[in-house]
């Protein structure tokens, strides 16, 4: 077997047992490794109705088939579990180096099952792994935990861990690695916390076997060169992910005041150039990635001066900035640092705070609920204070730690109408009234309200065609055109493969599909052509969907917050627009081969994807 070790660790936390297990080769190719393979294990092993924060849920880490090989931007890993935020399939992906260091231990993945009665961490080194007591780490934040483990085990160990947010079961807690990188979405840090698992420290020296190392070297070099020439790389290197802010803003789709507007008049204070001019100290990159979009930053003025860390990313700026109506870059950066330290997803956190601000503005949340804190739009101190409270679940933070969906259910008074989530997952900072197709992809993304499942922002908001699919052109982003729905489906399928092989989707914007599939084949020894490779993505997409269907998801869940469907944008280029989801959704179901009533993939579709056993179960 190439591109993998064919082995995983099974860690029974209830009984403190660690075992090795083989991964059948057929399974590897069928699900492409990474998130795909992990999803198959999830389907097979997590019973319907399992409590996301109970011992029946499993937390599955899986490196990709390309993770750690000589190919650009392929250092990523995925975590899959049933999500405590959405109650359906949950997946989060992260870069940095941890995935590579883990895979060098000689394993492709780890399945954590059960729950430990006391805090533990797992240490993995060349072909061995051991659970250890983590009582001394409990209550510590991410940098402290990482530092203590390095002191204990050695500087060379790389750490993935949760901070206090995961311990306190904040619904959107992240798993952090390499200090500032996050497997952020879906609350998988809370799943880790529920199992009393604090960290995984790894160090290894075992190389992943590669099918054709000579040719891979040559081919891969070509890909690096192509990326080097890409202007896209230059823009991301200079300004990080926040490079897109101006493009989103100019189209009137930068969510402002909890999505009450799409135009943020102070965007120049918090955009990519503002970050470069004011706080950037160095670029940070993931393993083998020439793009270097990460931001090493230091706050040099104001009350947070002297604090250092990583970020903010575009989403952090979008949620804590525009959505909370804050143009204080230092406060946004500080809120982002704190999310990294406590281990919190910034998208959900910023969005939840913005929701609380609107509730406060409307009198739905009162001073007696907030313990006297005035949660006003535009108050930079409030975002920083609230992150502390959320992570510790103190005061009103306990309510906010539940996320917008649960908050709105609790508060009522029509607050559901402006609770900006899909299936419980808070939306990222692109308003789908300004780009119609983003609405469809929020509504149908397997993990809930997410932008990177399809990244249709590429061909719309930011005008970057996605080279890996045949045709990613969206003629007019303001118009909902059913004939363009195929772009969304193709993107979902193709980008799914990225989470499986462990590659970065941003890099995917620079390369073409045939070259890419050739690279995958050179590593793994598979013989995919582009169509078959993409179909493997479709298989995984449908498998994840089927998991969620088994948990009770129906077509009804594929919708958007009322604000996007019924409240027209009041200003900017998209003034007067709502999202016309229904125009696109029928076509989507048709192209997907999903049943319109139940929202399940049809048995026929599943069989076409060689998922006969799944068909038998969800249609029984």
């Amino acid at each position: 077997m190439y591109g993998c070790h064919g082995k995983l660790l099974r860690v029974d936390l209830s009984n403190s047992k660690v075992n090795e297990e083989e991964i059948p080769e057929s399974m590897h190719r069928k699900y492409l490794g990474g998130a795909g393979l992990a999803t198959r294990y999830l389907w097979d092993e997590v019973p319907k109705g399992a409590a996301p924060l109970g011992p029946e849920n499993k937390l599955i880490f899986m490196a990709g088939s390309l993770t750690g090989v000589v190919a650009p931007s392929t250092g990523r890993f995925s975590i899959v579990a049933k999500s405590p935020q959405t109650g359906i399939w949950g997946q989060a992906n992260s870069g940095g180096r941890w995935g590579v260091d883990f895979k060098r231990c000689g394993y492709d993945g780890i399945i954590f099952e059960g729950a430990s009665s006391k805090p533990v961490y797992l240490v993995v080194e060349d072909n061995k792994a051991e659970l250890k007591d983590a009582s001394h780490l409990w209550g510590k934040n991410v940098p402290e935990t990482t530092g203590l483990l390095k002191d204990e085990l050695g500087e060379k160990f790389n750490v993935a861990c949760i901070g206090q947010a995961g311990e306190n079961l904040v619904k959107y807690a992240a798993v952090m690695n390499d200090l500032g990188r996050a497997a952020g979405r879906c609350g998988l840090g809370a799943v880790m916390g529920s199992k009393n698992l604090k960290a995984i420290a790894v160090r290894g020296s075992i190389k992943t076997p590669v099918s054709n190392p000579e040719e891979l070297k040559v081919h891969s070099k070509k890909q690096y060169e192509l990326m080097d020439e890409a202007m896209l790389k230059m823009a991301m290197q200079a300004f990080g992910t926040t490079v897109v802010l101006d493009l989103v803003s100019v189209r009137g789709g930068f969510p402002t005041r909890n999505w009450q507007s799409g135009v943020f008049e102070y965007s120049d204070d918090i955009n990519g150039p503002a970050i470069s001019d004011n706080i950037l100290t160095k670029n940070i990159t993931c393993f083998a990635c020439p793009i270097e979009c990460g931001r090493g930053t230091e706050i040099s003025k104001g009350k947070y001066a002297g604090h250092k860390g990583e970020g903010p990313e575009y989403e952090t700026v979008g949620t804590f900035g525009g959505m909370c109506f804050i143009n204080d870059l230092e406060a946004i950066t500080m809120a982002g640092y704190l999310c990294n330290d406590y281990g919190i997803d910034t998208i959900s956190a910023g969005n939840t705070i913005a929701f609380a601000m609107e509730c406060y503005e409307k009198g739905i949340l009162t001073d007696s609920d907030t313990g006297g804190i005035a949660i006003n739009f535009g108050d930079p101190d409030v975002i920083v204070d609230l992150v502390h409270l959320i992570a510790r679940r103190e005061g009103v933070g306990d309510l906010l730690a539940e996320g917008t969906m649960r908050m709105s259910q609790k508060l009522g008074q029509d607050s559901e109408d402006f609770a900006m989530h899909v299936k419980g997952l808070e939306l990222p900072a692109y308003d789908s009234r300004a780009v119609q197709m983003t609405g469809l992809t929020y509504a149908t993304a397997n993990r809930g309200g997410d932008h990177i499942t399809a990244y249709v922002q590429g061909p719309t908001f930011v005008d970057a065609p996605f080279l890996m699919i045949e045709d990613s052109e969206i003629k007019d982003p303001f118009v909902a055109d059913p004939s363009e729905v195929k772009v969304a489906v193709d993107l979902e399928d193709m980008l799914t493969t990225f989470d499986c092989v462990g590659a970065c989707k941003f890099m995917g914007l620079c390369l073409n599909a045939d070259d890419w599939v050739k690279l995958v084949n050179l590593v793994t020894g598979w013989d995919f052509d582009t169509a078959e490779y993409k179909q493997a993505g479709e298989r995984v997409y449908n498998l994840a969907r089927a998991f969620s269907n088994r948990e009770g998801l129906t077509a009804e869940g594929d919708t958007l917050p009322k604000r996007l469907l019924e409240e027209p944008l009041p200003d900017g280029p998209a003034e007067g627009h709502v999202n016309e989801l229904s125009i696109l959704l029928d076509k989507y179901y048709q192209l997907r081969g999903w049943d319109e009533q139940t929202g399940k993939p049809t048995a026929e579709k599943l069989r076409e994807l060689s998922l006969d056993d799944i068909a038998a179960e969800i249609w029984s």
């Binding site: 202007m231 896209l232 823009a235 300004f239 926040t242 989103v248 005008d463 970057a464």
Partner: protein, 99 residues
């Protein structure tokens, strides 16, 4: 009539300013605007009009820039023949991705 040209990201360094206000004849289109930018304003040399689009060259492969008029990509309007209104905001972007 007056229109505002806003370069973004590193085009700001190329132009040296965040915005250029231009006086144009009524109903001028994007092509005419680019001409004025070129002749009267002295559009930076790295920017060129070719094949019906605005091109940027600087050691990299020449790349087409995105031109938005009042938030609409001119590709969805009439391309370089898109007519401008008084007070129009023309945004120029290099290729970018992220988020």
């Amino acid at each position: 009539m007056e229109v505002v040209v806003k370069p973004y990201l590193f085009l700001r360094q190329v132009f040296g300013v965040n915005k250029v206000v231009l006086d144009l004849p009524e109903e001028a289109n994007v092509q005419e605007l680019l001409q004025v930018l070129r002749c009267d304003y002295g559009m930076p040399e790295k920017l060129n009009v070719a094949d019906g689009q605005l091109i940027f060259m600087d050691g990299y492969k020449p790349v087409g820039l995105t031109i938005l008029v009042n938030g609409y990509n001119i590709k969805q309007l009439q391309g370089l023949y898109t007519t401008l209104n008084d007070g129009a905001v023309i945004s120029l972007f290099p290729p970018a991705a992220g988020g």
